[in-house]
Amino acid sequence: MSRKFKPWRFQSLFIVRALAALVIASIIFCEVLLAQENEIGESRGQYLGFHVSSGIDSYREDLLVPLGFHGPGISLGGNYTHRTENNSIDIRLKLGMGYLKNRYSHEAWALALEIRPSWIKKLAVHQKYGELWGGICIPLQMNNLYFESWDDAHLYWLTAHSLALATEWQKKISQKYKAMAQMEIPLVGWVSRPPTYRYNKQDALNHLSFHFTEPNKSLHFETLDDYRALFFQLLFKREMRRSLLNLGLEFQYNYCRNPQKIWGLNTSILLSYQWRIGS
């Protein structure tokens, strides 16, 4: 059976990465232009919010088959933020789900659960370029994968509880609008992955607790050499009297080398609303 050319098989990673770098450089350039026109803004206080996001999820699990599974994803979540003049504590909770297919239309499902507590401190303020914050984050992430076509009896997962560097840049771009970019890069992680070989015919997939306990067993220490991740969020915030309306983009990358490679990539548009609940 001959293979037909399919545009989505285009895999020139060099070009893809070069274009991505160009895009990111353009964003930074535009941000600098914007920064020159505006002044620094603030939204201090305690906020409670929720978010909904939708985008594209991609995973490749080499324990099973080195094929990328891509598809639409949706997530819901909430957050609590307490921001003072110089410090900010943020706790985010997210539950996401994705329906994925590979190039043959073989189906899979992804379930993501994460909690991201972070603490950042104001590091620098520039009249033109905005504020730079930095600190730490402890992302607790669980990505469960259900490859229905390739293995309907077992659960696959990438669980990572990590210690990450967190940075934030924010800039008021008009009286009511603010731009904010957040980035988190894990330095070390406690990672859990499925076993290389399955002796059991059937996982307890009919038990809800299994989906949360099993991926958190056998956590082991991994450094940047074996586990890499990136979280990036670009938000445009509209400040209202006692609330914030946020629209932005979220990008998340996860990679682990053991026992076989796995990649996860989530790109989504995010809409969130935050109520000011205290000062």
Partner: protein
């Protein structure tokens, strides 16, 4: 100016992130691999196709289809034995698959059949028409119809017990009922025993337990002592339920070359290296049609022996493990063909069913 910049930012960001998705790109999952078997000290003699009069072109055609990434997605290995010699052997996902075992799913049932034959020839079983109730009365509910289930019914998947295979796996492995055998026998009947073939994992599981109760040894112990040691099968794994009963329908993990030994044993009427391992009479009846199956319409024209599938088209019989795990025996051609595949796939989408496998190896079966 500002809104143009904003639009530009958003457009570029979308484009960039969409392009980044391609970072999770596909890699090859099948590879060109050697097809000439290596002579090892594992009980197999190797030979070239010409030595045993096999058409090399037929093998080439099979190999090309086998390593295609657009079909037989989950395939791992393919072996051909002719005249007792290994003549073709290939591993398309990893050459290491030669030396590691894999779950062979319902191939286990066919091994259960062989073990049953050994146990029967040892005198533990007088007749296939003995009722299961007479062996394990303590496990039965007070249902007279169920008490009429015989060993023959269990061996031909006609017990009538209504226990879907997917549910069986989940309930036995995950739910772990306190007494799995009682749990199976409590299931309702879809038909009276002996009336209707219905492919069920629970029937071989009851056979496995019957062997254990009759002999005081698990099926796995019987296999180790009386089958695997004789065939020099040393590296395998066989799962049991949480009460220690060997899984009779699946759970056996074997290496491809060892599967071929099972095929050669059955081809040789139960003999291996001159020793009678399994009673030849049992082999003969187990690999003959015992029951009509549900698969009587094309392309599934298969009958069923005692846990062996009968393929009249080629005058062959075979094991058939979920995903595409086969030990295909063609007595007329003195040939055994083994295929192993990843075992837990959706057969309708990714897996290799028996008719697909027949299509794959048909150049070999049609040729001289």
């Amino acid at each position: 100016m500002k809104s143009i910049i904003m639009i530009l930012i958003i457009a570029l960001t979308f484009t960039g992130l969409a392009l980044l998705i391609r970072c999770v790109s596909d890699a090859p999952f099948k590879f060109e691999s050697a097809i000439v078997p290596e002579q090892l000290n594992d009980g197999w003699q190797v030979a070239s196709p010409e030595d045993v009069n096999i058409n090399q072109q037929a093998l080439d055609k099979i190999y090309a289809a086998f390593i295609s990434e657009d079909q037989y997605f989950n395939a791992k290995s393919l072996l051909v034995v002719k005249n007792g010699k290994l003549v073709f052997e290939t591993y398309c996902r990893s050459p290491r698959d030669r030396d590691r075992f894999g779950h062979v799913q319902s191939v286990t049932k066919s091994i259960t059949s062989l073990i049953f034959g050994i146990v029967k020839s040892e005198g533990y079983i007088d007749s296939l028409d003995e009722t299961l109730y007479s062996i394990i009365p303590d496990k039965f509910p007070s249902d007279v119809t169920k008490q009429s289930i015989t060993l023959r019914h269990l061996l031909t998947m006609t017990s009538g017990l209504s226990f879907d295979n997917n549910v069986f796996s989940v309930e036995i492995y995950a739910d772990k009922p306190s007494d799995p055998i009682k749990y199976i026998l409590k299931k309702p009947l879809y038909a009276n025993p002996g009336e209707q073939f219905y492919y069920r994992d629970c029937d071989p599981q009851l056979i496995s337990y019957a062997i254990q109760r009759l002999t005081g040894k698990t099926e796995q112990q019987w296999a180790k002592e009386r089958l695997f040691e004789s065939l020099e099968i040393r590296d395998y794994y066989w799962d049991s339920d949480h009460k220690g009963t060997t899984m009779g329908a699946h759970g056996l993990h074997l290496k491809p070359r060892d599967m071929a030994k099972i095929g050669q044993l059955v081809l040789d009427h139960g003999r291996w290296n001159g020793s009678q391992i399994v009673d030849s009479t049992w082999i003969a009846v187990a690999t003959q049609k015992q029951i009509e199956t549900l698969f009587q319409t094309k392309p599934y024209v298969y009958d069923y022996g005692f846990y062996w599938w009968i393929v009249p088209r080629w005058q062959a019989f075979t094991t058939w493990g979920h995903g595409g795990n086969f030990i295909f025996v063609v007595p007329e051609k003195e040939m055994v063909v083994v295929m192993t595949s990843m075992p837990d796939v959706d057969d309708d989408v990714v897996g290799t069913k028996l008719d697909d496998f027949e299509e794959l190896i048909s150049p070999l079966l049609e040729g001289s």
